[in-house]
């Protein structure tokens, strides 16, 4: 499995939770942190499980997520 990471812009996140419900690996969670607008912020609670599939960013209504993935290394 490739390794990836989601970079969440905490000031854009409105805590709608659609990314949490969409992530197939349970990477994202609300950890009780709030941004300056008072919204709970989705966080990479389990970064080791992220494969960089990009589904969280695809469904984010506030374009708050950028996703990066390791380049595939030939075996």
């Amino acid at each position: 499995m490739p390794k990836g990471t989601a970079v969440i812009d905490r000031e854009r996140c409105k805590g709608c939770g659609v990314c949490l419900a969409t992530c197939p690996f349970g990477v994202l969670e609300f950890t009780g942190e709030f941004n300056s607008s008072g919204y709970p912020v989705a966080q990479m609670a389990h970064p080791e499980k992220c494969t960089g599939c990009g589904l969280c960013a695809l469904v984010c209504p506030d374009v708050a997520i950028e996703v990066h993935r390791e380049e595939k290394v030939a075996a």
């Binding site: 659609v18 695809l58 950028e66």
Partner: protein
């Protein structure tokens, strides 16, 4: 977190045609998603410098603020007429009218149908969330039978208020439109399909083929009194039954 990104390749980044402004939409609202999809397609087609957004009256009234391209805000329901004027004067521009259901299917129904019937070479993005979101959740022409709204607290009664109007099917009966489709956004697969449809609509306009209409079934978590995740499930289970998805016309 940033340092670990250095050795990685970007899979998803913010489209260049989006401005840095934060959306004013409620949490979970599909308007933001549709805005992002449009910006992404504008980037892909390389038409940012010659795109004009025509914004409606409704929640998307600031649509021109989110894009790094020119924009006009039309009077309520008149976006198709304003877009017609811009496109006829400057046929080299790519003109996109972005409208909600109260705007396009109620007060602007005449403009919508006649722009489609004349085959104006514009692209219309129709955000159908089955409610008047901005004004506090009143019944729209697209509100489902039995659906609660602040102006029909007992649910929409078809004996009094008629049935939800199916705009895509209605426009598909006309001769002129080159592309008419209805999409949804409730899961990643449908987000990709919607992106494809928007790409097709704008491509047809760039090629000068004619009028395209993309209806997108959107949520309104605030107006529906649901959580964003519940609202997306509601679209998949209930709304798509009343508004079947599909491409109704494709003469590309």
């Amino acid at each position: 977190m940033r340092s670990s990104v250095e050795n990685m390749k970007p899979v998803f980044v913010r489209p260049k045609s989006l401005s840095d402004k934060k959306f004013t939409y409620c949490p979970g609202c599909h308007h933001g998603l549709i805005t992002r999809i449009l910006a992404q397609v504008i980037d892909e087609l390389g038409i940012q410098e010659r795109t004009v957004m025509v914004a409606p009256v409704g929640c998307a009234v600031f649509a021109y603020e989110w894009f790094r391209c020119d924009g006009v805000q039309a009077a309520h329901g008149r976006a198709a007429a304003v877009a017609t004027g811009i496109k006829r004067v400057r046929p080299d521009l790519v003109v996109i009218s972005y409208q909600g259901d109260g705007d396009l299917a109620a007060i602007g129904l005449a403009e919508t149908i006649h722009a489609a019937n004349r085959g104006e070479k514009i692209s219309v993005i129709f955000v159908n969330n089955q409610i008047y979101g901005m004004t506090g959740g009143q019944m729209a022409p697209t509100t489902l039978v039995g659906q609660h709204a602040t102006s029909c607290p007992e649910g929409r009664n078809p004996q009094e208020a008629g049935y939800p109007i199916r705009m895509a099917e209605l426009l598909a009966t006309l001769e002129a439109p080159v592309y008419v489709a209805r999409l949804a956004l409730f899961d990643p697969k449908h987000v990709l399909e919607t992106t494809k449809a928007v790409r097709k609509a704008l491509t047809y306009q760039v090629q000068g083929k004619g009028y395209s209409f993309v209806e997108i079934l959107a949520n309104c978590p605030t107006g529906w009194r649901m959580s964003p995740v519940q609202a997306n499930k509601h679209i998949a289970a209930v709304v798509t039954k009343a508004f079947p998805l599909g491409e109704f016309v494709d003469k590309g």
